[in-house]
Subunit: 380 residues, 4 copies
């Protein structure tokens, strides 16, 4: 809707007038208004290979140390080529609302505590021995876990193991940056005190759609870590039925005290694509960032094929037609994704539309060629 | 608040005037108003022995058959002695809002489908082989399961096994009866068609605080049956921490699409009282009906001791001080209970107060003597 | 729904069993359940003449004085003949949820402050010089005004003029009495301190659908008194359009900080029936208590005609078919009414149905004969 | 929060690495993160003189005609100098969320109907004879009126009088543009059919905080036009009390069916500053666009003085300290303003803080020099 009409149609007199307006900090509505009837995202469909990200983090590991006096977080974030125009004044994210990054924490490192109005979440990709403290509860990180730090919760991370631990970070920085209304605070010590037993929330939600009676009142994070084994069990429970035509066997993480998305303004899902799954195409107004948890396949977005395997990231922008395919003949694929559906719903912006042409499957017009690091030995 | 002042204080002239008012379908506020500053329930603390209920159901089994042409449901319900004044015009329940009953379904019997604006729920006490259909989903009943039929959902039951199956029914009949605004409908066949795979909801919620993405929109019963094994697992998860001082390790069942009580207007809980548990006393404005799922112990209510064991029912009225004790030296006790907390909260009526005298424990002034059936051989 | 089946159908053996159950504080569901598919109110359509009420208040004025050491409120309340069964243990109101009364305050009298969880409202019928203090704001009473004292707000009344002032009181006592969860408190002085300018809320809401910015946060009574002149102006604004077929030109009073009913759990309306208005019939699950503010006419309820004029009260029970008629050839009629619609909506109980027979108008089968006081000279 | 750290602190090696990241569509979190603890708006305090805007519209009137085949709307909009970086890919508004413009409609012109997901509102500045149709209701425009067209409502304008009519338009284009999720639709005719009597909503809300009973269900625009006379009456009602220390006598327009802001995502206020009013300073996280309806004075924003008179526009960005002063000795000043408070509140972003230094008044460090059009004869 905010796309500007081409200037060509205007007379020289009008073009001069438009320039005068601009010089007076004004603009001509007639040359700007509403040229498109449908959402026109500036973010584009894109994919980042795990190997590229790892190569970058490797460099970062050699150049920078995490902890007091050094940097606070060692994370490289994904910049959607279509959102670069916002730099350096605004914030170019993976989509128009979502920041996504991969963070690496080396053995012995401590990422000191802070809190902010932006919501944050983590999806643990690789490595054991790290943990995070969220508002006084220490949560251990295992691959496949989903860990939340909703707005204004203190959080810090530590790696007490002996291997590098990698996770995806997702925040709504581009959104809060657009509103320019955020607050940020450093904790006055290098670590928070731990006020509760380890994995307190996770152990109290060990089974069933039931809630400890003390958690009846809405709170931001009664359950801070959603373990992979319980999520997997939930997906397996569904797998005796028909998969969703677009998303396979998909679940979303919920806050047990509200029934809404676990992380407030950012939705998160895990979806299992069974062997042979060939999803139908659809589009919706919310945008998503995917990280491949397990398996191999591709996603067709607006007619372009994005091949993926474990550890790769890709984005589906607003209103982009997309379909997922598992290409393995033996293994289920698992995609973890985050989205801005809670924001869209809050404003009544959410719409969804099935792709109706070609029996619901897009024609692949193009195959995406991913970037790799210079000098990286890529086995394609 | 609605207790009426004693008439003794009035002059003969006024007493005559009060009678005139009554004859004209009016009343004197000054003789009625607000004599008490605190809730004064008419329901009293009470306990029904399992054996009494079973004896009654045994008689009912011999006298009545369930199914088309016969009676619809074979259930005997609990009438609080303090609520009898409502009969026969209103409805005397177990508490001022809650109806509670035990239903027996014999092998081969079918309790035909109907629906109503009253909310209904079941807690399976004994027996296997029965099942219920709720809005087209068939749920199998196992002891310890919690099964819901929220308002206006079609429901019917069948016993396809070879033993009698017993369950607790709880509805908010006294509440909807007081509002006199309820609707009821018989299904035009002896059984509903089954539109979904068996135990559909239960299998789709097999683990984790996650929700199939198709259940994001609020609906009355995305999950219709909460199995005992998952509930037990949840309680076990808590049991490595400190129990709640009043209620031990207690969970409430939630509707995953809303985060509110599974059954809308009726809350339900399972609480585990560990060996040696001696709860502190408190009171609250909501009332509860308990059925003992496992174990042995007693509850002190307003200074009176109510001894209980598996299968017994007891009620804690509005604002009654109460504390629970597990008297077994070897076994955890489990109490299932229903309550009107959702109704109280909706109106802002809920208040809670710890008992502060005597270090938080009541002095037992009286021991309750339960009723038994005539001729029943009671081993005390 | 709670109507009990007739006992005649049962065998002597069963009847004996039912009695045994009763003696054991139990009941047979099969003899009680769900005999009616539609709401079956126990309250009946009824009308109280103004003259009867005035005669009763006259007696009360001679016998009782309001103020400290005497009675707190001089009010006679309306008891629906169908709700008498609740006395003396429960509370028989004008409908199943609503208490309605007429209160008389003589010159010089002070009705001392108290507060309660029941919601209260007043509609000023006659007389000037009285006022009420609600949470520190003094509101002057004029005929036609609607004045609220939502739950837990301190309120007291004083008559500083030289004539008796009459008003209708409406509270949800029967409802809160059925829940038995209410609290009540006397103020520790004979009058509240006045913390705000006179008629503070009313003056701050002098015009327009706008709100002082300080009232943005929901609060129980930002506006405590809705004056007749503004309400009249609102109804006049509508009167250039088509009236509602059932209710004429009708408005409901709203709390500007929430957009919901001014008094929380009790709805209130003023409706203008233009000259010649002959409303169509319908029914709904909420019940209403009407007081005629001005004019003359009748209402047909379930086929019975209830003639009314200014000062008369009548009730429309749950689900009763009703239609209003203005019989004056010169004057608009105004009906003030209160209802339990907020309660019904909160639980999803509200339904409405147009009367479809006889072109939407009931056949009058009966004319109601009202009661008068003994010795009262009635000019019919 | 999204401000980027200066690059100077990094080693050449790291700077090279940052460039590599950028070339791979990635970024270094450590060089970007969270440098500021408080909101750092990119929009700056700014003021546009009425005369400048009128001069621009005069040029536009000579160059462009409104209606089918020509341009749809003749409006010049305000571009905050701090938001220009968003052009041409995004949308630079008056603040980070709000678009503001002045629209001129000449006698005989018709601005054809369309609808969009962006919310729109109008404040009528000058001229009579114009009107707008919103979802089938025609509303006449008078100076001082507030007229709404919430999201997805059809709206068109016509000038049937003989003078140019000017109004302020405000939409949340920058916000919806940042989300890139908006839809837009042209109406398939040059005017909508008119389905209701003229000024239907306005006449039905002629007085009192009451609502026609048919408007009980939430809807986007039961009242489409808030007339100046009723708004003035509301402000006058407050003026016998103490003004708000920051905002004088201020009201916000509400939707009677919800109690929330009349226009959903955009708040709107009218505030009266009495003679001699010297407001205290404060700041809040929502941003505002002001248009001076009547009177003369100045506003100090972050230490800079902005002098204003009727017809001038100015903006108060997020978290900017500001205070208003009426400098007239005889006339009350009236400021109309729009804000993004509804958006901030929806996300829990709203905070407010009183300015505590210097007894609550800022020291004026600078006086703003406004822009004028070339060749414009400015009488200062």
């Amino acid at each position: 809707m905010s796309e500007h009409k081409l200037e060509q149609q205007w007379t020289p007199e009008l073009l001069e007038f438009h320039e005068e307006l601009q010089s007076k900090n004004m603009g001509p509505l007639w040359a700007s208004v509403f040229s498109s009837s449908q959402p026109t995202p500036r973010a584009i469909p894109y994919l980042w290979k795990k190997q590229l990200i790892l190569d970058m983090l490797e460099k970062a590991k050699n150049l920078l140390q995490v902890g007091t006096g050094s940097i606070d977080r060692r994370a490289v974030y994904l910049v959607n080529p279509g959102m670069k125009y916002l730099q350096p004044h605004g914030w170019g994210g993976a989509t128009q609302t979502l920041y996504a990054a991969v963070q690496a924490l080396n053995p012995g490192e401590i990422a000191p505590p802070h809190r902010h109005m932006t919501s944050a979440l983590r999806f643990i990709m690789e490595g054991k021995g790290a943990s995070g403290v969220v508002n006084g509860v220490k949560y251990n990180f295992e691959p496949g876990d989903y860990v939340i730090t909703p707005e204004w919760c203190w959080h810090d991370h530590i790696n007490e193991g002996d291997e590098t631990v990698l996770w995806m970070d997702c925040l709504d920085i581009p959104f809060t940056s657009a509103l320019t209304s955020s607050f940020f605070e450093m904790y006055p010590a290098s670590q928070q005190p731990i006020d509760f037993p380890e994995d307190y929330g996770t152990k109290r939600y060990a089974g069933g759609m039931v809630r400890p009676i003390s958690d009846r009142k809405p709170s931001p994070a009664p359950l801070g870590r959603y373990t992979w084994d319980l999520t997997k069990q939930a997906i397996d429970g569904q797998s005796q039925f028909e998969p969703d035509p677009y998303d396979g066997f998909a679940v979303e993480y919920i806050n047990p005290s509200t029934g809404k998305d676990a992380n407030g303004r950012i939705g998160a899902r895990m979806q299992g694509l069974p062997v042979g799954f060939k999803g139908k195409a659809h589009r919706h107004t919310h945008s998503s960032v995917y990280v491949v948890h397990k398996g191999k396949g591709y996603t067709v977005i607006n007619g372009e094929r994005f091949d993926w395997e474990a550890g790769d990231f890709f984005v589906v922008p607003v209103w982009a037609v997309h379909e997922h395919v598992n290409t393995s003949e033996t293994e289920e694929a698992f995609l973890f994704s985050t989205n801005d559906l809670p924001i869209m719903e809050l404003f009544g912006f959410e719409r969804e539309e099935a792709y109706s042409e070609n029996e619901g499957y897009q024609v692949i017009e193009k195959v995406f060629e991913p970037e790799f690091a210079e000098g990286s030995v890529v086995i394609k």
